[in-house]
Each structure stands twice: as structure tokens, then as C-alpha cells.
Amino acid sequence: KKDEFIKTFNVVNQNFKDIFPLLSEGEGELVLENPSDPFSGGLVFRASIRDKKNQKLAAMSGGEKTLTALAFVFAVQRYLPAPFYAFDEVDMHLDGPNVEKLAKMINIQAKQTQFIVVSLRKPMIDSADRMIGVTQKGKGVTKISGVSLKEEIKQEAG
């Protein structure tokens, strides 16, 4: 059991180290509170974004926490992908450039797995393969306004 866990931890940690710099201009790694007996301790993030030294996770900003959390989700996905990912406005704390970085990252991960991402931010909408438009009709009834973008363009392009 412990061996299994350590094996999983090492792969996910390596993924996290690879992915973190792509999402933020920084470095990050996963650290076990008690490596000799992992089940008695927890798992912490050791991350430093844009040359900041020893950042405490609790003191990070909303955007920095978002990038750290998503790097972990992607690190796990590379180890053991779920069949689909559904994200609801995960970019809400991010500034423009970071929305673009995240969108690029999703594009890479979406080669392996299906991503359904709700977003209001332009860089995210622009980089998707296709968009499902949702509007309200009449007194609050949802209407799906079609699947558009690159799919149709790709088909038209032949």
C-alpha cells in the first residue's frame, strides 16, 4: 500500500513540476509532510511564482492559488485521466495573460481527453475547438443556440 502510494506520488509530482512552469512563471513541487509514513501526514504545495521565495500557500493571491490548484489537477490527469473534464469558470480570478496560458494548457490536455469549459473570458472562448452558446428565451427558459466555430470552419475548409 505504501509502495503503491509512493510510486503514484512520484509520477504525479514529476508531472506537477513539468506543468507548473507552463501555467505560471514559477516553479512548484509536491511535498509530503511525513515522507517515511505518508499516511500520517498530508500533502503540501511548495510553489514560488515569478521568483518569489518560499511563498506560503495561504498568502498567495486568488490568481496564484487558481494556477497552483489547476496544475495539480492536470498533473493527476496525466497520471490517470478521467474520461471528461467539466470546468465552470475556473478562469474567473485570472488576468488576461494567465487566461491565455490556461487556454493553451487546456488545448494540450484536450488532445487526450474531452474538456467542457464554461467561461466568460475572451481568450478562453477564442482558443476552444467549438462553442456551445447558451441564452435565455422568454421567462427564463434556457435555449442552446448551436455549436459553432472551428468545427464548421474546418468542415468548410474541407
Binding site: K1, F5, K7, T8, F9, L32, E33, P38, F39, G41, G42, L43, V44, L57, M60, G62, K65, T66, A69, F72, V73, V76, Y79, L80, A82, P83, F84, Y85, A86, F87, D88, E89, V90, M92, H93, I106, A110, K111, Q114, I116, V117, V118, S119, L120, I125, A128, D129, R130, M131, I132, G133, V134, T135, Q136, K139, G140, V141, T142, V147, E151
Partner: protein
């Protein structure tokens, strides 16, 4: 494996029948505030049994998930997965308001089954209520804010 389509009937703001096709790769869902984007994510969580009523924003229980746009007392969501071998897996959940409260029924490939059967089938494909493959609105920083123990436990599950 991926989600192939959602068939939503009278669930939340989806009055009547709606079918939403999903393709592979990266799909973005966008539209004005209050139009029903998060309700699409709620459809998936509801049908697969991954969330409680409270998490689906229906504080007074599952009855609030039935659309208020008409007088019908039932709602259902049917999720079709395309499997890698051209086969399909279909999970459906129906709720019905009766005099004894709200009844919820699950179906797998259109045959009635139990919630436990749905869970164990989905677990084969790494879909569990703990897998961070669905992140609800406002919850993106939860993984950063939770305790170190909770975070480690998540790795226990996938080891």
C-alpha cells in the same frame, strides 16, 4: 471514452426536451449571466449521482431541480458516453414528485438499476464524486485551500 450527448427534460431552466451534442477535444460553453451554463454542469453531476441537492443549489431538496416553467412533476437527464470500442454507456436519472416526497430512479443502458451499480460502473472509468474532473463555479481554489490531509487522501484514492 467521452460524453457524446446530454438529453435534458424539464430539469431546472431546461423546460421541455433538449439535446446537446458533445464532441471530442475542447468545447467552451458561453452566454449571458443566468442563461443556464452552470445548469448544464449540474445536469452531468445530477445524472451521474456525483453531487448532493445542496451542491446543485436546490436547498429545499431535489424537488427544486424540476423546472418551474410548467406544471410537470418530473425531470430527467440522460448522459450518453461514447466508449473507446464504438460501444456506448448510457446513464439516466429521473426524479418524480409524489405525495411521499421526491423519488429518484437510475437507469443504465435504459434498464433500471441502483445508485450503487451506477457508482461502481463509473468507478471503472475513474469517475467518482472525489475526482477533480468536475470543478463547480467558485470552487477552483478549493484544492489550494483544503487541508494537506484532504489533499493527500485524494492521491490515496488514485494510487
Amino acid at each position: 471514452m467521452r460524453i457524446k450527448q446530454l438529453e435534458i427534460d424539464n430539469f431546472k431552466s431546461f423546460a421541455n426536451q433538449n439535446t446537446i451534442p458533445f464532441l471530442d477535444g475542447f468545447t467552451v460553453v458561453s452566454g449571458p449571466n443566468g442563461s443556464g451554463k452552470s445548469n448544464i454542469i449540474d445536469c452531468i453531476l445530477f445524472a451521474l449521482g456525483l453531487s448532493t441537492s445542496r451542491e446543485l443549489r436546490s436547498e429545499q431538496g431535489a424537488g427544486d431541480l424540476i423546472s418551474t416553467h410548467n406544471k410537470r412533476n418530473e425531470a430527467s437527464v440522460r448522459v450518453t458516453f461514447a466508449l473507446d470500442d464504438e460501444d456506448e454507456l448510457i446513464i439516466t436519472r429521473k426524479i418524480k414528485r409524489t405525495s411521499h416526497g421526491v423519488q429518484s430512479t437510475y437507469y443504465m443502458n435504459d434498464k433500471q438499476c441502483t445508485f450503487t451499480q451506477v457508482c461502481s460502473e463509473l468507478e471503472k472509468y475513474n469517475i467518482t464524486s472525489n475526482s477533480h474532473n468536475v470543478i463547480m463555479q467558485g470552487h477552483v481554489t478549493t484544492i489550494a485551500n483544503c487541508s494537506p490531509k484532504e489533499r493527500r487522501q485524494y492521491l490515496d484514492e488514485i494510487a
